[in-house]
C-alpha cells in the first residue's frame, strides 16, 4: 500500500513538469506569441528590450524554455500590468474565493447528482428516469455564462430575492481574515451578518456552476447503479424479503458509489474550468475573474499563471482521489 502511494506521489512532479512544458509550448505557438503574452500589444521599445534580456527572447527556444522553467520553479510567474503586483501575490489573494465556490459546487453536485443518478436507475425508462437525465443533459448543454446571466435576470432583476454579484454586501464587509473563505471565516468569528450575506451571494454562482456540471456524476451513478442492481447479491437481498428502499438505497448504493468517487476528481477539473466564466458573470473575486479581466486588458501573464495554478490543483486532486480509492473498496488490496 505504501509503495502505491509513493508511486502516485512520484508521478506528481513529472506531470507538473509536463504541464509547464505544454503551457510554454502554447505560449510560443507563433512568432510573436511570447511577446504578446508577456507584454501585450502596447509594448514600448524599452519594455521590449527589457523583456528580451530578461526572458532571452533573442536566444534559441530551448534556452528560453530553460529560463522559463527556472522562473516557474522559483515562483516567478511574472507581473500583472493591471494590478501591478506579482502574479504569485495576486493568485494568493484571489484563490480562496475560487476554492470556496468550487467546494460549494462540489457538495451540491455530489448530493444532487448522485440522487438524480439513483432515481434514474431505480425508475429506469420511466418518467423519473427521463426527467433526471433530461435535467442532467440540459444542464451541461447550457453555456455557463448565459445561464449565469439568465439566473441573475430572474432572481435579481425580476424577483429581487438574490444579489447580482460580488461576494458579500459591501456594507457588511469581509469577516476577519483567517482562511480567506468568507463562509468559514465568518463562522469562526461568529460574524452572522457576514455569514448570511456570503451565503446569499454564493447561492446563484454555486447553483449555476453545479447545474452545468451535473451530467458526468449523474450518468456515472446511473450506470453504476444499473450494473449493481443486476448483481446476484441484490437478487439475494430481495429473496430475503427486503423491500425496495432498503435494497436500492442501502445495499446497492454503497457498491454503486465506488466508481463514482473516481469521477469526482474529473468533475473538480471541470469546475475549475467553469469557474472562469461564472466568476466573470457574477463578479466573484476569484482567480477566474482575475484571469478574464486580465485578458480583456491584454495582460496575459496572469492568464498563464492561473493556468499553471489550476493545473497543479487538478493534478493534485486526481492523485489524492487515486490514493483514497482503494480505501473505500474493501476488496482492493495493494
Amino acid at each position: 500500500m505504501r509503495i502505491y502511494i509513493i508511486k502516485r506521489l512520484a508521478w506528481f512532479p513529472i506531470v507538473l513538469m509536463g504541464v509547464v512544458t505544454i503551457v510554454f509550448f502554447l505560449t510560443h505557438l507563433v512568432p510573436g506569441s511570447a511577446i504578446r503574452i508577456l507584454l501585450g500589444p502596447h509594448a514600448t521599445e524599452a519594455m521590449l528590450q527589457h523583456a528580451t534580456k530578461e526572458y532571452g527572447l533573442d536566444k534559441p527556444l530551448v534556452y528560453q524554455y530553460g529560463i522559463y522553467l527556472w522562473k516557474v520553479l522559483h515562483g516567478d510567474l511574472g507581473r500583472s500590468i493591471i494590478t501591478g503586483r506579482t502574479v504569485i501575490a495576486d493568485l494568493a489573494i484571489y484563490l480562496p474565493a475560487t476554492i470556496e465556490l468550487v467546494i460549494t459546487s462540489l457538495i451540491i453536485i455530489t448530493v444532487v447528482g448522485i440522487t438524480l443518478g439513483v432515481v434514474a436507475a431505480v425508475y429506469k425508462n420511466g418518467m423519473l428516469d427521463f426527467l433526471a437525465r433530461g435535467v442532467a443533459v440540459g444542464g451541461v448543454s447550457m453555456p455557463q455564462f448565459w445561464l449565469g446571466l439568465m439566473v441573475v435576470l430572474l432572481f435579481f432583476y425580476w424577483l429581487g430575492i438574490l444579489p447580482a454579484g460580488g461576494k458579500i454586501d459591501p456594507n457588511i464587509g469581509a469577516p476577519h481574515h483567517i482562511t480567506g473563505l468568507y463562509t468559514l471565516d465568518s463562522l469562526l468569528t461568529g460574524n452572522w451578518a457576514a455569514f448570511k450575506s456570503t451565503l446569499l451571494h454564493l447561492i446563484l454562482p454555486a447553483i449555476t456552476l453545479s447545474l452545468t456540471n451535473l451530467s458526468t456524476t449523474t450518468r456515472m451513478t446511473r450506470s453504476s447503479m444499473l450494473r449493481t442492481l443486476r448483481e446476484d447479491y441484490i437478487t439475494m437481498a430481495r429473496a430475503y424479503g427486503f423491500g425496495g428502499f432498503r435494497v436500492n438505497f442501502i445495499y446497492a448504493l454503497k457498491n454503486a458509489l465506488i466508481p463514482v468517487a473516481s469521477v469526482l476528481g474529473l468533475t473538480t477539473g471541470y469546475l475549475f474550468g467553469g469557474a472562469f466564466l461564472i466568476e466573470t458573470v457574477f463578479d466573484w473575486p476569484g482567480i477566474g475573474l482575475y484571469a478574464t479581466r486580465s485578458i480583456l486588458n491584454v495582460d496575459y501573464a496572469p492568464v498563464v499563471g492561473v493556468a499553471l495554478l489550476t493545473s497543479f490543483i487538478y493534478v493534485a486532486i486526481n492523485i489524492v482521489t487515486d490514493i483514497i480509492y482503494p480505501l473505500i473498496d474493501p476488496r482492493i488490496k495493494y
Binding site: 506531470v15 448543454s141 453555456p143 435576470l153 432583476y157
Partner: protein, 282 residues
C-alpha cells in the same frame, strides 16, 4: 452487410424507445437546415446597421428584437449557426482524424511510442480544457480561425486516449492474432480491422465533442478571444448583450438559447448512441 443492417435495425429500435434521442436528432437537423438555408430564412442581413431602430423589443417586424446598432437579432442568430457549426465540425474533424491515428499507433505498437504519446496526452488532459483553450487563443490572437486552431491542438487528446483503450482491448482478441499469424501486414490490420471496430466509441465521442466544442468556442467568444465584431457569433452576442440587461434582455437571451438547443441536440444524440453501444457490450 447483413451485420450492418442488423445493427441499424437495433439502433432504430433503441432510438424509438428513447424519446430523448428523437428530440436530439430533431434539434440537430433543424439547426443544420437553418444554417444551410440561412439566406432564405433570415429576413435581414446580419450586418445591416440601422441606427434609427436600435434596442427594439421583439415585434412582428423583428421577431427577436434589435440590438444596440439596430441589427435584427433573429437574422444574426440564424447566421450565427453557421459559425458555430463550422467551428464544431472543423475542430472535431481534425481532432478525430489526428487523435484516432495517434491512438491507434500508440495502442498497436506499444512500447516507447505508446509511452511518449500517452504521457503527452495525460499532461494535456491534466489542464482543464477551457483554460487550455484560453491560453492557446490568447497566444494566437483573437479570431475565429485561431479559435479553431487552438481547439484542434487540444482536442485530439480525447480521441487518442479512447481509441488507444479500444485498440488495447482489441489487440488481445483472437481475430487479430489470427490475422497476424496469417501474415497480414500491420498496415492492413490497422486499416481493415482495428479502426472499423473502434468506430462505436469514436462516433459517440464525436457527437459529444461537437457539442462541447460549441460550448468552448462560445465561451471563448464571450471573453473576446474568438470571433470579433461584427461577426454574428452567438457567444459574442451574449457578451454584447450583457451590458443591456435587464431592460433590453433579448440580445443576451436568444443567442444563448440557440447555443443551448444546438448543444443539447448533440449531447442527447451522443448519449443515446452510447447507451446502445454499452448494451451491446454487456
Amino acid at each position: 452487410m447483413k451485420k450492418v443492417k442488423e445493427r441499424l435495425r437495433y439502433v432504430g429500435y433503441v432510438i424509438k424507445r428513447s424519446p430523448l434521442s428523437i428530440i436530439g436528432v430533431f434539434l440537430i437537423i433543424l439547426i443544420i437546415c437553418i444554417a444551410i438555408f440561412a439566406p432564405l430564412i433570415a429576413p435581414y442581413s446580419p450586418y445591416k446597421i440601422d441606427m434609427s431602430n436600435t434596442l427594439r423589443p421583439p415585434s412582428a417586424k423583428h421577431w427577436l428584437g434589435t440590438d444596440s446598432l439596430g441589427r435584427d437579432v433573429f437574422s444574426r442568430v440564424v447566421y450565427g449557426s453557421r459559425i458555430s457549426l463550422k467551428i464544431a465540425f472543423v475542430v472535431v474533424s481534425i481532432a478525430a482524424t489526428s487523435g484516432t491515428l495517434l491512438g491507434v499507433i500508440s495502442g498497436y505498437y506499444g512500447g516507447m511510442i505508446d509511452m511518449i504519446i500517452m504521457r503527452i496526452v495525460d499532461v494535456f488532459l491534466a489542464i482543464p480544457t477551457f483554460i487550455l483553450a484560453m491560453v492557446a487563443a490568447a497566444s494566437l490572437g483573437p479570431s475565429i480561425t485561431n479559435v479553431m486552431l487552438a481547439l484542434s491542438i487540444i482536442w485530439w487528446t480525447w480521441y487518442a486516449r479512447i481509441v488507444r483503450g479500444e485498440v488495447l482491448k482489441l489487440k488481445s482478441m483472437y481475430f487479430i492474432l489470427a490475422q497476424k499469424s496469417l501474415g497480414a501486414k500491420s498496415f492492413r490490420i490497422i486499416l481493415h480491422h482495428l479502426i472499423p471496430n473502434c468506430m462505436g466509441p469514436i462516433i459517440v465521442q464525436t457527437t459529444l465533442q461537437l457539442g462541447f466544442a460549441i460550448l468552448t468556442s462560445a465561451g471563448l467568444s464571450f471573453l473576446g478571444l474568438g470571433a470579433q465584431p461584427p461577426a454574428p457569433s452567438w457567444g459574442l452576442m451574449v457578451s454584447d448583450g450583457r451590458q443591456y440587461l435587464p431592460g433590453y434582455w433579448w440580445m443576451a437571451t436568444f443567442p444563448g438559447t440557440a447555443i443551448f438547443l444546438l448543444v443539447m441536440g448533440f449531447l442527447l444524440l451522443g448519449d443515446t448512441i452510447r447507451d446502445v453501444l454499452e448494451r451491446e457490450v454487456t
